[in-house]
């Protein structure tokens, strides 16, 4: 059963259409929302988190209608926004405990047990007494994940969870998110194709508020099959010099080029076309 069903959703801010008839579904496992900045990822995640309502179209979350059953959905939801807004004077334990109360875990002993469990799950047990302002960016992100896991939610929404993390932190993060996705639905927004390749069973590519692709990362990779070339000359806009000195070209084959094995990033760039490098018609 699909945990998330989005059908023809439209959302506008003034004249700007952030989502323009978007449709997609997500079930158990990790689903990646992939798109460039301004594609509407955060708008969509906020809708899934029941923070924002759609102008038109329908959403079904956990089998329920968010416009009528928002509270019931929120009780089964974990959400990490792009900017969680930590109370920096709080310790890790205090912050997660505060969120636990707001998640209606009111019995003190049960709540503290749950807070300790999620803090341990994200690997922060040793710093649970430390103030949040004293933590690194990666640790703060893990605090954000910890609060999202309170109460064992069936749907976890993560908005750009790996933004600003160094490679080592991202690696730890991927390990954590993949573990979380083993037994629940995780929807994460990102503009990093590496995250999608490493984590997601399904990927939705969208740009300009519209869905451009929905499938597995392997299917996304295959979008670029037969269209990635290595050559001595640059060809077109989607072309860059690799470390080996050759140009990697996506799209039309340049002269004297040899076919290369595509990656997920190639498929993504091919779907976005000029928009991928910031050139829009």
């Amino acid at each position: 059963m699909n945990t998330v069903v989005v059908t023809n959703v439209v959302k506008s801010y003034g004249r700007h259409r952030a989502l323009d008839g978007l449709s997609f579904t997500a079930g158990p496992g990790v689903t990646g929302l992939l798109g460039p900045n301004g594609a509407g990822k955060t708008t969509l995640i906020r809708m899934l988190a029941t923070v924002l309502a759609a102008d038109s179209g329908t959403l079904r979350l956990l089998g329920r209608d968010p416009s009528a059953e928002r509270l019931q959905i929120r009780r089964r939801l974990g959400y990490l926004p792009q900017e969680p807004g930590f109370h920096r004077a709080f310790t890790v334990f205090e912050f997660v405990d505060y969120v636990a109360i707001l998640k209606e875990i009111v019995d003190r002993r049960a709540r503290h047990d749950e807070v300790r469990r999620v803090i341990a799950e994200v690997g922060l047990a040793e710093v649970s007494g430390k103030r949040i302002r004293a933590l690194s960016g990666g640790m703060r992100r893990r605090v954000g994940i910890a609060q999202a896991l309170l109460g064992e939610p069936e749907l976890v929404l993560l908005d750009e969870p790996t933004a600003g993390l160094d490679p080592e932190q991202r690696l730890r993060f991927r390990e954590l998110i993949s573990r979380i996705g083993e037994n629940r639905t995780v929807v994460l927004s990102t503009h990093q194709t590496e995250d999608v390749a490493a984590l997601c069973g399904r990927v939705v590519v969208f740009d300009g508020g519209r869905c451009m692709f929905e499938g597995t990362p392997e299917e996304l990779r295959r979008v670029a099959e037969g269209q990635v070339w290595l050559s001595a000359e640059r060809s077109g806009v989607l072309s860059w010099r690799t470390g080996e000195g050759l140009f990697r070209n996506i799209g039309q084959a340049p002269d004297a080029a040899r076919l290369a094995e595509p990656t997920i990033e190639d498929g993504y760039l091919l779907l976005l076309g000029d928009a991928a490098v910031g050139v829009r018609s």
Partner: protein, 265 residues
């Protein structure tokens, strides 16, 4: 079909917020100053007038003023930290958070009651000389001012979400108090929050000079109605039951008017 029974998170949230409020440096400093003043008074005895004031309305200044600012800061902490987005997706609503903040104002109030009682005991043990011992209503004035300060701080955080707004509110309160305090002969000073009940007279305040006119019992009711009004004002901001809170606010306005007139001589 199973029926999901959920317990409201408001009491647990109120306890957490009360703890934060009581541990706030401003509140700690406010109570510390009051206790320090009490200790000095018990040791040095400044005379019957200052001793009477300390026991009745002294708390309006310390810790009343710091509690107002601390309550405003605690109630607006999530907004200032940029956490509204995260909290907005949680089951507990903003209205419940406001209700919890209002209930948390009972924390400093109860501590103020305890400190007030301790001071009474101190006066009795030390044999502090007063022209007369304060009535229960007079003893309640200080803690009521602390309660009102906490509730007004929450209302200020909800209605005026701008940096420095709480300072302007405090300046307005002090200005109002200074204006009405000039009317001691008519009892008009009782409309203020820091209202002198005893006549201080000339320095060094040793002589008994009697009391300002007015009904202190009604003054306590007047302060209590103002407290409830501040709470209703805070709840009105986000509650979906706006009519209920408008009605409650209207009732407190009537109570303030009745008690305000009743306190006059």
């Amino acid at each position: 079909m199973t029926v999901e029974v959920r317990v409201s998170s408001v009491p647990a949230l109120a306890v957490a917020k009360a703890r934060r409020l009581l541990r706030h440096p401003l509140v700690l400093a406010g109570f510390a100053l009051f206790v320090l003043a009490s200790v000095v008074e018990l040791r040095d005895y400044w005379g019957p007038r200052p001793a009477f004031s300390l026991l009745t309305n002294g708390m309006a200044l310390w810790p009343g003023v710091p509690v107002f600012f601390a309550a405003e800061l605690v109630a607006s902490a999530s907004r200032r930290a940029g956490g509204d987005e995260l909290l907005g997706a949680l089951p507990a609503s903003r209205t419940q958070r406001t209700a919890a903040s209002c209930l948390a104002a009972l924390g400093p109030f109860l501590v103020a009651c305890a400190v007030q009682m301790a001071l009474c005991v101190g006066y009795a043990v030390q044999g502090v000389s007063l022209e007369r011992f304060p009535t229960v209503f007079e003893l309640a004035l200080g803690p009521l001012c602390v309660l009102g300060a906490g509730l007004l701080g929450v209302a200020s955080a909800r209605w005026l979400p701008w940096a420095g707004a709480s300072v302007l509110v405090m300046v307005a309160l002090v200005f109002f108090n200074v204006v009405v305090n000039g009317n001691e002969a008519t009892g008009g000073h009782l409309f203020g929050f820091y209202a002198e009940l005893a006549v201080w007279g000339p320095w060094p305040y040793r002589a008994a000079m009697g009391f300002n006119p007015g009904h202190t019992g009604w003054h306590a009711v007047y302060l209590l109605a103002l407290c409830l009004g501040a709470g209703a004002l805070a709840m009105l901001r986000d509650s979906p039951r706006r009519r209920f809170w408008l009605g409650a606010g209207a009732l407190t306005v009537i109570a303030v008017a009745v008690a305000g007139l009743g306190q006059l001589p």
